[in-house]
Symmetry: C2
Subunit: 189 residues, 2 copies
């Protein structure tokens, strides 16, 4: 077995999702995953802390920070949000079947739901930091980050439930525009 | 000991928070709480599932649903949001010291943080249902509920950190107005 395995992370993810599909999440072990992928368990643990973590490897968080730092200059806050949603949405394209399986597994397991909540909170923090770096106040960054991530998650659910004909970021941006309309005239009661 | 204890819930909460303050959360037992309150453990468990639940008894969730159903007619969506924030904020007034203690205890305990996240998710669902009952779409209700609850939580943090001179709902509404400005011109990138 080669010491350096090309695309090890992707191969491990594919092997793991195939096994989860075939025999269920609980019944699948790390040695089974590595055997299927033709890699060592040591390589597995270099990429994932545990079996659960494979389910959260596809998403935008790991790279979100770097990506947000590469935003083109001169964007307004709203343009930056739309740009970030576009970049994050791109990473999900072509992964619809995998994402559906992952969502089913999470829905069926309270432990996974808890981890999913923590992952979402992590993404909130990354977006919040990016907004604060652009000069927004702490509170304003926090609210806009929570709102943007919420719009992304709702759009992802819509995309997973539909026929995939629409773009995730277009759905998210449309939701944010609706939110803006719903908050029209907001003032202290 | 009387079979029917007036204000049992409040007495248990006061006794529990006093003991948490004096000797810490972990060291406090349910029998200690009931002894201090002059009530039976049976009464305790009629009001709270466990010791942790006392920390989440002060907040708006238990009554939020009923309250949201009592909104005056003819409000716009934004007016309904501001009205709901006003009602929820009212319930925290006078509880600033208790809320600070509760926040400190939650910050120090991952198990409590997890429960706090789930409580927040529950409030999200209550607000979402109330908005859907007013005719908003599923997705739109979900985003506006997440956003409104996020604004409430951020405002609560500001209120707890400050001198209490401002009103929670005024802070939340101001944040929502800022969010609206930040989303000005949102469209697909």
């Amino acid at each position: 077995m080669a010491r350096w395995a090309p695309n090890a992370r992707d191969r491990l993810t594919t092997a793991a999702l195939d096994l989860f599909r075939e025999q269920g999440f609980a019944a699948t072990t790390v040695p089974q995953i590595t055997e299927r992928a033709g890699l060592t368990t040591r390589t597995f643990y270099r990429h994932f802390a545990d079996k659960r973590e494979v389910l959260f490897g596809h998403d935008a968080r790991a790279q979100a920070q770097t990506v947000l730092e590469q935003a083109p200059p001169g964007l307004s806050t709203a343009e930056f949000v739309a740009w970030g949603l576009r970049v994050m949405a791109t990473r999900f394209e072509g992964l619809r079947e995998d994402m559906r399986l992952i969502q089913e597994l999470i829905d069926a397991d309270p432990g996974l739901q808890e981890r999913a909540l923590r992952k979402r909170e992590l993404l909130n923090l990354i977006v919040r930091d990016a907004l604060r770096d652009r000069g927004l106040s702490e509170q304003r960054s926090r609210l806009l980050a929570d709102t943007t991530v919420s719009a992304l998650y709702i759009a992802l659910d819509q995309w997973l439930a539909g026929d995939g004909g629409v773009q995730i970021d277009a759905l998210a941006v449309e939701l944010l525009a609706s939110l803006r309309a719903d908050l029209d005239g907001i003032e202290t009661a």
